[in-house]
Assembly symmetry: C2
Homo-oligomer: 421 residues x 2
């Protein structure tokens, strides 16, 4: 038995008194139900009930954000109120189980008819969770050691076209990128194990190039092979990558799911590059679903080593503030005795340009900075593309404006011109 509690913060929007609505949430997600039932004694409620720990009312809104919500019967005001609320649950309701945690803090809440908006913002977990799960086995230091990059961000890229290259064409591209001085390459999340580019053949062809390059130069490029699949497939593919001398595997979190990810992490001897594709379904509406700050905690504990966070001035819909909050979260300790720090992965429309603002906001270079066009479409070629990114990060960490740095660095100068818009 434990007296520890799980805490979760939500943004709620409701036509009801927010405190009454929050109490309903707490009841629904613990010992309460729609109608009073005989078994719900005061003792049971004291032992197993969720509690409203904090409620801070925020600005009212003019119209409901989500359809289907009820209004109080006697309501004439039309007001829709919002609040930030913290609920807590006894750890003993579920024990330190990540899947059951998800059902408890992010289960049947989002459809409750009291709410025209409900979003999970953050959570804080008892230490028992840290003891029950792998966490990242490599994180920042393990990734740096395997990639041979002691300082600065890992400069990375994604194989493009995303899908359609065969194994040999992929390996040829990897050869170009390795010779360009890149630290990290990843499969696109669309590249799986189709007959045009079977996983095994791709691993063998790519690792031949990477191992040759490492023998010649001493630098082993880290390649994240997308092993997303059924569990036996993922384990077998992981083993193949490890045997071929590979140093990273990649999995799509929303495709694999939590139990699959936990199993993969327990099996893995390599860093796991965690791709968040599908994340928009959980987060694109600002009053529904999960914030990344809450969501990434689940996956770090499950065993992710690298987590995608989008990038500044990206090509998707996300704001820069949201991107930075996500990246900071990845670098913030999860537990005092087990920080579970993971490397944030910046990607989507990244070039030399975004380095200073990224560094200024993050105050760290513990990250993977992945550029596609920012490398392959550099007017001086891929090597100049990689060089321009290193130049930009050197400027950023030294506090030198990019334009000044570019005066003596032609690759950077060309990048600033090429990626001006």
């Amino acid at each position: 038995m434990s007296d520890q509690r799980i805490l979760a913060d939500y943004l709620i929007e409701t036509a009801f008194d927010p405190r009454v609505a929050a109490e309903a949430m707490a009841g629904e997600q613990s010992s309460g139900t729609f109608v009073a039932v005989p078994g719900e004694t005061p003792e049971l409620r004291a032992r197993s009930g969720a509690r409203v720990e904090m409620l801070e009312e925020l600005e009212a809104v003019a119209a409901p954000s989500l359809p289907g919500a009820r209004r109080p019967r006697d309501d004439r005001s039309g007001a829709i109120r919002t609040a930030r609320v913290t609920l807590s649950w006894p750890l003993d309701n579920l024990g330190p189980s990540l899947p059951n945690l998800v059902a408890t803090i992010a289960g049947n809440l989002f459809e409750l008819s009291q709410f025209s908006g409900l979003r999970l913002l953050d959570m804080r977990l008892p230490d028992a969770f840290a003891d029950a799960y792998e966490g990242p086995r490599f994180g920042v230091s393990g990734t740096r050691a395997l990639a041979g990059v002691d300082d600065g961000p890992l400069i990375g890229t994604i194989v493009k076209p995303s899908v359609g290259l065969d194994a040999q064409a992929t390996a040829d591209l990897v050869k170009t990128l390795a010779e360009a001085g890149i630290d990290f390459i990843k499969d696109d999340e669309l590249q799986a194990d189709g007959p045009h580019c079977p996983f095994d053949e791709r691993v063998r062809a790519v690792m031949r190039v990477i191992n040759d390059h490492a023998e010649r130069t001493g630098k082993k490029v880290m390649f994240a092979f997308n092993l997303t699949g059924d569990l036996d497939q993922m384990r077998r593919r992981h083993d193949l990558v490890a045997e071929a001398g590979g140093t990273c595997v990649m999995a799509s979190l929303n495709s694999v799911g939590l139990v699959g990810m936990i199993e993969l992490a327990r099996h893995s001897r390599l860093p796991i590059h965690a791709h968040r594709n599908g994340w928009g379904t959980l987060s694109r509406h600002p009053r529904l679903g999960w914030s990344y700050v809450a969501w990434q905690k689940i996956w770090r504990l499950a065993g992710a080593d690298h987590m995608h966070v989008n990038g500044l001035a990206n090509k998707f819909c996300e704001t820069d503030d949201s991107v930075i909050a996500s990246a900071r979260a990845c670098l913030t300790p999860l537990f005092a005795h087990r920080p579970c720090i993971v490397m944030p992965v910046f990607s989507s429309g990244q070039s030399a340009k975004q380095a200073p603002a990224t560094y200024a906001a993050l105050e760290s270079t513990d990250l993977i900075y992945a550029a596609g066009g920012g490398i392959m479409a550099h007017p001086g070629g891929p090597a100049a593309g990689v060089e321009s990114l290193r130049d930009a990060w050197e400027a950023a960490t030294s506090g030198v404006p990019l334009a000044d740095q570019a005066a003596a660095r032609p690759a950077l100068a060309a990048a600033l011109k090429a990626y001006a818009t």
Copy 2:
């Protein structure tokens, strides 16, 4: 190699020409990227590109449904257009893999900045998927055989309070319900394996009651034990339930995830009752995420036997039309040679009242009809509650109005009065 294609239907909302936006979607999710890359040859695009198969423009809307979308630079109209669009992908891009299917048809789409709304409506899969996955091993006929219910819906309920009862108190409640003549009982999704009600103890106590009752009466109540947890836990718990003579296990789909569910189904010798808690995050906004019609196909193929669909006049936010579309989808064949039919589970505020409309819309009694208060809060007690539900379904299937049926059925008459509002 195969020339089969995967098809997916979407609702899109965009300030761009919908055809141009749909082409961008197709490019992003296959061989295209934000900038032209050298490797994207016409041959590669022909082999691996996704295609826009159909586009039907629908009504324009006044304001964007989701924030963050871009507008065309030269746009002065302010118009926001919507369309229903079908994309197709070569099966060979990924092979018949459910996790990679999710990354392909529901991956990095929802954040594309062309769209102020994007929802996956439906999908059609090549037969190769049917051969690659378990599908439901029990479905309707297997569930009926194990529950001993040849005709009509399985009348069911949920243990309440959801969490907090100990194993013995749960078993005592099951005794009451078994004696009341119930067919089916499930754990709440919040009831896992905490120290107040450990899974093993709960199974032993509950199955003692169920087995005793079966020996005395010949009727074995089906109890769905919530085994949601890590993979080794789920397998071990499944085995315990099977050894104790249990006939059903339950898992929370959004907590376990796809790979975990596939593994559970491969291991399971019992029907899997699939709980959809957390579903609101994926579906509550009508222009974001997944429709249930698309989503349930994934889980049926993965191996679910029972799928939750909410209920008519429910206590959540969902409309009746949406509930019926979900339930019909569960009863519609997935493949001609492998229908993968699953039992829809109706719950949330259900009582005798909703039986006629449910039957009229579904034209089937292949379902689980779960009532909490509709049984436990019946003025005549749980046995009268169960009886009132059977009376109501008998009336519904015979085309007799509930009020007429109630004239000779006191349990139904009392229910109609008690659940009038």
